[in-house]
């Protein structure tokens, strides 16, 4: 991975995702529950794909486009992406 704009392991990722979800749902971030399924805010498969593109562009990662279908809450998505970032950062000879 490359080109990250901020340290993705800081609590910022979940916060930023919440803002993106609020943007797509056209609500205030405070109204978005990070443990709720994205579909409960009317975000269908299409928005989940757009969200994936946003994450890729922000973090310079390549993800499965369907990542938010498999991890359909902000918490699950943030945990998955942070896991990927950790794996990518781990020195290759440590495995």
């Amino acid at each position: 991975m490359n080109g990250s704009e901020s340290d993705p392991l800081e609590p910022g990722l979940g916060h930023w995702l919440r803002e993106r979800v609020a943007h797509y749902a056209q609500r205030e971030p405070a109204e978005i529950d990070p443990s709720a399924n994205l579909t409960s805010y009317g975000l269908d498969s299409v928005y989940a794909l757009s969200l994936c593109g946003d994450i890729e562009d922000r973090l310079g990662l390549v993800l499965e486009p369907t990542v938010a279908w498999d991890h359909p809450t902000i918490e699950a998505l943030a945990a998955h992406v942070e896991g990927m970032l950790t794996d990518a950062r781990r020195p290759q000879d440590a495995g």
Binding site: Y24, S45, L49, E56, D57, P65
Partner: protein, 558 residues
């Protein structure tokens, strides 16, 4: 089987004694039956092998070859093309994309043995919202899945040996709750599965449209294609192949329409001269022919892209489905005006035209409606607009070289989004800078490029509410305009990369000028005054192709 050989077997369409000619096709249509003589010819050549990948013993190696062969079938009888063949292809691509080794083998054996697979997606209550499908396949008390619900307006539902059914396999919300099931009719107990009466249609009367109602109908344990819950993803990926191929096959319908119109303008004498000598008639013929060439370019470039840039097909397949279906439908309507009363008469020499006109509309709403296709492209555009849309990596030049070699078709490289990549748009920029481009081509390309820049700005500013089914009609116009830009890119690059290798007509820039003018009009821009010389060249070529009984595409081969 080459397209040429198939065209030879189908014989002269205008010969009233030909059992596979227009007269016989029309008679079957009047009876509302599949075209028997046509089905016999396709049985004899084992057409189904065209739908089966080569590694499973079939002849499906290249999408452009498949399109060429099927275009012959659609040119003779669109109902034969859809009812005999393409409907099995729609079902089969799901198996090639998601099936395991055993399922792939079984589907291949079935097709290679002359059998059919019906595509069980549609439910009348849910239309193109296939995620809203109500047919369920939940596990029963004994662990076996059971079908409950119905599928409607399904080609060959009653006579297909197997079905690919799209069903809900989990009650959870989200996009991982549906699956495809490959089931053989012989494995379904009669008590759980009932055929619905045939659906009668205004066109495609030779396609046997039926349906099935399931009630607590157990299916074999290994019926689900791939991992349960992947159905929406499988549909979005595998249908990139059929959304590309089917409209390109349907270009054969416009070929037949142009053939009939050319014959009519040649034979009819009005006011003391052949109809085809009137400037108005010539302009209609020339426009329809230019539209056909645009469809041919876009269809073939997209088909070749499936091999060369499969990761970007989520954009191209839906754009092609939308744009080609629109052009074909509009061009056939324009041609009908040339035939006057003859297009309305159901028998006699030109009776075939009204049948073609009735058979074509499913190209626009069948399989995936045009609006649904625009809806697939639209949400991808803002991301492209935020990135350097026109500065990306261009596709390999082989993408535009007609007939050139191709790597194998890999279903596993198709993805649900293009990931912010669109090489063809970058190829527009490249064409603008290419050497030896006539001023008129460059001028028209420049209009397209300016329009594209406006499109980029509008896409970048798209509000989130416009990404879904709540999109404003103006928002859905963006992917429509994008499709037109893509068509211009395809046309100019096909001309650039084949002008020294594709024969005299293909090398002449007048066809690409005509094509770009038509696209500029679609973009609601003024292409400038039309040239009589250009109308004369294109109309004369259409007449010559009719006289030679050859193909009307970029190449005159069949």
């Amino acid at each position: 089987m080459t397209a040429t050989e198939l065209a030879r077997r189908l014989g002269d369409p205008w010969d009233t004694a030909n059992p596979a000619g227009h007269t016989a096709v029309l008679a079957a249509d009047e009876r509302g039956e599949p075209f028997g003589a046509g089905e016999q010819i396709l049985d004899a050549i084992g057409l189904n092998a065209e739908f089966v990948p080569a590694d499973l013993g079939g002849r499906l190696a290249r999408l452009d070859d498949l399109i060429r062969v099927m275009r012959q079938v659609f040119r003779r009888d669109p109902a034969l093309g859809l009812g005999y063949g393409a409907s099995s292809l729609i079902a089969a691509v799901n198996v090639w994309t998601a099936g395991d080794g055993r399922q792939r083998r079984r589907a291949a054996d079935l097709l290679l043995g002359g059998g059919r697979i019906a595509a069980g997606y549609h439910e009348l209550a849910h239309g193109n919202d296939f995620a809203g499908s109500a047919l369920s396949a939940y596990a029963g008390p004994d662990g076996r899945r059971r079908l409950d619900g119905r599928k409607e307006v399904i080609a060959n539902a009653a006579r297909a040996e197997a079905l690919v059914l799209f069903a809900r396999t989990s009650a959870s919300p989200g996009s991982r709750s549906h699956s495809q099931l490959l089931v053989e009719r012989a494995d379904l107990p009669a008590a759980g599965c009932r055929d619905l009466p045939r659906f009668l249609t205004s066109g495609m009367r030779g396609v046997l449209l039926g349906g099935l109602a399931f009630r607590d109908c157990p299916v074999p344990a290994d019926a689900v294609l791939g991992e349960p819950g992947r159905g929406i993803e499988t549909a979005l990926r595998s249908f990139q192949i059929t959304r590309t191929a089917l409209p390109a096959m349907a270009v054969g319908v416009l070929e037949a329409g142009l053939d009939a119109t050319a014959r009519f303008t040649d034979a009819r004498v009005l006011y003391g001269r052949p109809l085809g000598d009137m400037p108005l008639i010539r302009s209609v013929l020339a426009d329809a022919y230019a539209d056909l060439l645009i469809c041919d370019c876009l269809g073939l470039v997209a088909a070749r892209s499936a091999h060369l840039v499969p990761d970007q097909m989520s954009l191209y397949a839906s754009a092609v489905k939308y744009f080609v279906a629109t052009l074909l439908t509009d061009a056939m309507y324009e041609l009908s005006r040339v035939l006057g009363a003859q297009f309305y008469i159901r028998d006699g020499e030109y009776g075939i035209f009204q049948k073609l006109l009735r058979d074509l509309p499913p190209a626009g709403f069948g399989h995936a409606a045009r609006a649904a296709c625009l809806g697939t492209v639209l949400p991808q555009l803002p991301r492209l607009a935020r990135r350097a849309w026109r500065a990306g990596d261009v596709p390999p030049v082989e993408t535009y070289r007609l007939g050139g070699s191709l790597p194998p078709l890999s279903f596993d490289r198709l993805t649900v989004t293009s990931g912010g990549r669109d090489g063809h748009s970058a190829a527009l920029t490249l064409a603008l800078d290419a050497p030896d481009v006539p001023a008129e081509v460059r001028r028209l390309l420049h209009i397209v490029a300016v329009e594209f820049d406006a499109l980029v700005r509008e896409c970048a500013a798209l509000p989130p509410g416009d990404l879904s089914v709540d999109a404003r009609p103006e928002a859905l116009d963006l992917p429509a305009r994008y499709a037109a830009v893509l068509a211009a890119t395809a046309c100019v690059n096909v001309w650039l990369h084949n002008r020294d290798r594709g024969g005299e007509f293909l090398a002449d820039p007048r066809w690409v000028v005509a094509a770009l003018r038509r696209i500029v009009i679609r973009l609601r821009r003024d292409p400038g005054p039309r040239s009589r010389d250009q109308d004369r060249v294109l109309a004369a070529e259409a007449l010559a192709r009719h006289h030679r009984n050859s193909g009307f595409g970029l190449s005159d081969e069949r």
